[in-house]
């Protein structure tokens, strides 16, 4: 329920039958339509039991209804009064005619707007809405003086009154077979057939009044809209168009942008929209973070504004990510946004926001990973592309296997030590690892150097969790496939249109025509050697090292982890070894690995660096393979 336990009451009057005036045909139908619409829980949520529908009532019946509704229900949050019938201005006052109204004694026999105002002043509903679909109803202006008494208006918290009259003082209100034009226009707004706005979950009568003024301009009616003492959120009815615009979230972020930062947004307005739209389609993490960084960096001097934008933009893009076909898109987008904050973690506000984003990323990864685990249990082929895949999966499926394990293994890094979700994440990783080894062992292979960070994180976590058998099998499959192709892995950034050429070369085990598609030196062998040392598989791997004689492998080490999200890091060391030249056994590489190697200063930085390595694939978080105590501690149920 939008309004929870708020008291929302309605009086809807339609008068077709008159003792002293010509009969009308559609007024009762209008009142009924309005009543039935507004009591619906998905439209107005007015209380159907205590609201009143009066059809061609007498003056006494109207007075009784006003007394019952306004003075017998305690404090009222929202009160709406609707009238359709004859109306007219007499002696500077607007009167609504009911069945026994007499043209000669209107002040005694017709319903004066001033009377209603006096009732409202006394009952004081928090918000009152008055809609009059009658001839000359714009004449209600004459009665506003009653409302404008200085002793009841102007103070904070005093009642709000909105009035819509569907024709101006000198106009007649028209009817069609469907009902009064004004009422129909209002109902179209209420029930969503006409668009008012889509950025709030509720509509107020002023917005609707403005909309129907525009719409009825082409007719002879000019609705009049008055709002007094307006404050607070809209409360007249639900907004059926809320959420209809998938770009609503970003629009709200941009419109509410702090004025001090206008320049930053203006300069990147188009890119922001494009990158926002990409979140639900073909999404590229580097392109995404480039745009976000270009907007964020000018805000860095004001960390509160900086984090405010990051989190609000984050909320918008995460909502957008729900439109993607990719179960992991929400998690990946959240991760990318988190990595954007990495250079600014020295600010406490940014660090706090980063922690919140890590939590959100972790939660999204648990949700996605759990869904994948459930899918794989019922459909062993769930990881295959659903659309447009086919033979391309010969290249991309091994990548997706690596991504599955890498992201799942990274999840525990994102939660603090005392967070129970760390255990949940570890359980999910263990489940996925076993499922992958059971159903996808043929695709657990080293095919591209872009897989290196995923293998590093998953092998280290499997080892930490004591999943020795699984870790050994994983490392064994990878090393076997590496040796089988003589270490000729596709370069991490192989153009997609060249993946077929690479596969054909790999199929023939002849890379002479595909030299530029192979990564040299690769980081995958470095990962496998360090994992072998961690798992005690060094001597097993040594047996086959001669088969990759001449293959060079590398590691990039950089102590400045604030750069870990940058396109190109600078100031680090490019370490390189060659099998058969300076490495003949796994131990040779381990012995020459620089110690102490760079480690992040905090768990927070380590977690974000892990995310960066998975997003960009051309950097390996080597600290996760070092036995430094940097890795997430184990939690038990």
């Amino acid at each position: 329920m939008l309004w929870g336990r708020c008291v929302r009451l309605l009086i809807s009057i339609g008068c077709n039958v008159y003792d002293h005036a010509p009969a009308l045909t559609g007024a009762e139908a209008d009142a009924r339509r309005m009543f039935e619409a507004l009591i619906r829980s998905d439209v107005g949520e007015y209380d159907p039991a205590r609201s009143k529908l009066l059809l061609s009532p007498s003056m006494d019946e109207v007075r009784q209804a006003l007394r019952d509704v306004l003075f017998s229900n305690g404090a009222i949050d929202t009160f709406t009064f609707f009238f359709a019938g004859h109306g007219g201005v007499r002696a500077s006052s607007f009167y609504m005619w009911v069945r026994d109204s007499s043209p000669d004694a209107q002040s005694m026999t017709a319903l004066s707007l001033s009377d209603i105002f006096r009732n409202l002043n006394e009952a004081a509903p928090e918000q009152s809405n008055i809609i009059i679909d009658a001839c000359e109803s714009g004449g209600l202006i004459a009665d506003l003086g009653v409302l404008l008494k200085s002793d009841v208006r102007g103070d904070a918290g005093t009642p709000i009154v909105t009035l819509v009259a569907t024709s101006a003082q000198n106009q007649y209100s028209e009817e069609t077979q469907a009902g009064g034009l004004g009422t129909t226009a209002i109902l179209d707004c209420i029930e969503g057939r006409d668009f008012v706005q889509d950025n709030a979950s509720a509509l107020d009568l002023v917005e609707i009044g403005r909309r129907i003024s525009t719409r009825l301009r082409t007719t002879d009616q000019s609705p009049v809209v008055w709002g007094l003492n307006l404050y607070g959120p809209p409360r007249f009815c639900r907004n059926p168009r809320y959420g209809a615009d998938p770009a609503r979230s970003l629009r709200a972020v941009i419109q509410d942008w702090p004025s001090a930062c206008d320049t930053s947004v203006r300069e990147h307005y188009d890119e922001l929209w494009q990158t926002y739209a990409s979140v639900s389609g073909n999404w590229n993490p580097r392109a995404f973070t480039d745009v976000v960084n270009s907007v964020l960096s000018p805000l860095a001097p004001t960390p509160e504004v900086f984090t405010g934008f990051a989190e609000r933009f984050g909320a918008a893009v995460l909502e957008r990510a729900e439109l993607s076909d990719d179960v992991f898109r929400r998690a990946l987008t959240s991760a990318a946004l988190t990595v954007c904050l990495l250079p600014y973690l020295e600010h406490e506000a940014v660090a706090r926001a980063t922690r919140r984003l890590l939590d959100a990323t972790g939660a999204a990864l648990i949700a996605a990973g759990s869904q994948l685990a459930a899918d794989l249990t019922t459909d062993h082929y769930a990881l295959l592309a659903k659309r447009g895949g086919g033979l391309s999966d010969l290249f991309y499926l091994p990548l997706h296997v690596a991504q599955t394990l890498g992201w799942a293994a990274a999840t525990p890094w994102l939660f603090q030590a005392d967070d129970a979700r760390r255990l949940e994440a570890d359980t999910m990783f263990a489940t996925l690892l076993r499922l992958v080894l059971t159903h996808y062992s043929g695709s657990v292979l080293a095919i591209s150097d872009a897989q290196a960070p995923f293998w590093a994180i998953s092998l280290s976590r499997a080892a930490d969790l004591g999943l020795t058998e699984e870790a050994n099998e994983l490392a064994g499959l990878l090393f076997h496939s590496f040796v089988a192709c003589r270490g000729q892995l596709a370069r991490w950034d192989i153009p997609p249109e060249k993946t077929l050429d690479y596969l054909l070369a790999r199929r023939a085990n002849d890379f002479s025509q595909a030299d530029d598609l192979v990564e040299r030196p690769n980081e995958s062998l470095t990962v496998l050697m360090k994992a072998a040392a961690l798992l005690g598989l060094g001597e097993v791997f040594d047996e086959s090292l001669w088969k990759v004689d001449g293959v060079s492998f590398a590691a990039y080490l950089n102590a400045d982890f604030s750069q870990y999200g940058a396109d190109m890091m600078t100031g680090g060391q490019n370490l390189v070894w060659t099998v058969g030249h300076d490495v003949f056994r796994v131990a040779d590489m381990v012995r020459t690995w620089p110690e102490p190697s760079p480690r992040p200063r905090s768990d927070l930085i380590a977690a974000v660096a892990v995310l960066a390595s998975l997003l960009y694939s051309d950097r390996v978080p080597w600290f996760c393979l070092d036995d430094t105590g940097m890795r997430p501690t184990l939690t038990t149920a």
């Binding site: 809320y242 959420g243 209809a244 998938p246 073909n282 909502e319 957008r320 729900e322 439109l323 993607s324 076909d325 990719d326 179960v327 992991f328 898109r329 996605a368 869904q371 994948l372 062993h380 082929y381 769930a382 990881l383 295959l384 592309a385 659903k386 659309r387 447009g388 895949g389 086919g390 033979l391 391309s392 999966d393 010969l394 290249f395 991309y396 499926l397 091994p398 990548l399 997706h400 991504q403 599955t404 159903h439 996808y440 043929g442 695709s443 292979l445 095919i447 153009p495 997609p496 249109e497 060249k498 993946t499 077929l500 050429d501 596969l503 054909l504 790999r506 199929r507």
Partner: protein, 213 residues
Amino acid sequence: MSDSAQSSKDGYFVDETGAAAFNTSFTLMLAKLQKEVVSQYISPSNTHRFRHGGDWNHPGAPEAIGGGMQTHSAIVETQFQDLVDNDLGAIDRSAQHLIEAMHRQFAQMLYSTVSAACDQTGNTVDAKAEGSLEDAFMAMIEKIQFSADKNGKVNLPEVHVAPDTGARMIAALEATSPEYKDRLEVIKARKIEEALGREVERKAKFVCYGDDA
């Protein structure tokens, strides 16, 4: 999350760009193989390509055979398990299957078009009626009009036959008498001369025809 934001998610690490690029490369590879197949039958310089749908029409040469677009299709199936097992042989198998199917359909179209054109003009030879393969061959050569290119080079006709018929025909021609071979050479020489003559007549239709070398 609002209701409108809900969608049916069914993919993991969706990368449609990568898959699309791979599929484009695969299609280009097939197109290259298909061109090689077609070039076995028709010189690439004598191949026209359609820009839009519709039959070829020769308003200046109404007697020319038209013809239009025909759809050739082939379906290839890849087993999920082959993908999961990373069986790279699936690429070769798929390509081979598709190319063989396209080759078959192309050859069928080519021969049926030629056959229809010959039937239409009556330019056919009945081997049985001729009495022997070598006589049928002679009659065939007699009925074929040789053509010369604009450089004055006469292209001799190609003979396409089924493999077993081809073997029999070669054997029969090799066993022919010297008189038969002489007669064949006389016909060829006459046909070549006629082709050159037609080419001279064709060039004479220009206002002038020079050497642009």
